[in-house]
Symmetry: C2
């Protein structure tokens, strides 16, 4: 934990870290971009303690990055959806994915690949389609999980 | 602190967080990209406890993101320089800067601006020069600190 806030470190990087600078928070966001919406699904995927997960989700809702929306009436159940402000974090995740793929990928290769929905082209680290050349937004892209190699 | 490692969260985002997922670490990297190299300069700029700073710098050296290089003989003094692996983190910082500028900038406006050295154009969040259109690398760009407004 930090013993002070970043208010006197007047920089947009520092201010961004105020919102997403905790590792579980980043992994919650990664899952949200992969389509996870419900508490139990975050919990199952991350294996994080429920109280830690709840505090991270609450923080992200307070920051306006996620919104908590009812999806069922009886009993009332909520899910967590990325807001516009949250969706704007996508370039950071893409940049982190690219760095990890280059410098920290497992020997079997990158576990996740981003592809342009329209043409199937690979998404570059500048978020441009390597197939057709267009600039992509989060809505244009889907993540493909690499399959484990099938033994011959 | 996390109670477990990310090894079973097989994803390049998680693996990137293993290296840079701590807030002081990110701010050390931000300073390194702004040209800070010496322990005392990091310490002065961040106001972080010396033992915390030392542990973050040592971690980044161990990860191959920074290298510790002597710059003086008697007495021996070292400075910390970004390696190629460290320089590759630049797109993440640029993406964080763009998000912070949009969603968390102080009312006086973004405190830092990235410009293309050659033409002075603003650097887009895709790291493309808005002046001349070329794709930029970390070596093509400098950061300009916004001056405080001068009272009339």
């Amino acid at each position: 934990m930090l013993g002070r806030t970043y208010d006197n470190l007047d920089c947009s990087v520092a201010r961004t870290l105020e919102v997403m600078g905790e590792r579980w928070t980043m992994l919650v966001l990664r899952d949200a971009f992969l389509g996870v919406k419900r508490f139990d699904d975050f919990q199952k995927d991350l294996g994080v303690a429920r109280n830690v997960l709840q505090s991270r989700l609450t923080r992200l809702v307070d920051e306006g990055v996620l919104e908590r929306v009812p999806y069922q009436d009886r009993p009332v159940r909520h899910e967590y959806r990325l807001t516009e402000k949250g969706l704007d974090l996508w370039p950071i995740l893409v940049a982190m994915l690219a760095w990890g793929d280059k410098h920290a990928a497992p020997t079997a290769g990158p576990p996740l690949r981003l592809v342009h929905r329209d043409c199937g082209g690979t998404v570059s680290d500048r978020r441009i389609c390597e197939g057709c050349g267009v600039e992509l937004t989060v809505h244009d892209v889907r993540a493909v999980r690499r399959r484990e190699p099938v033994p011959a």
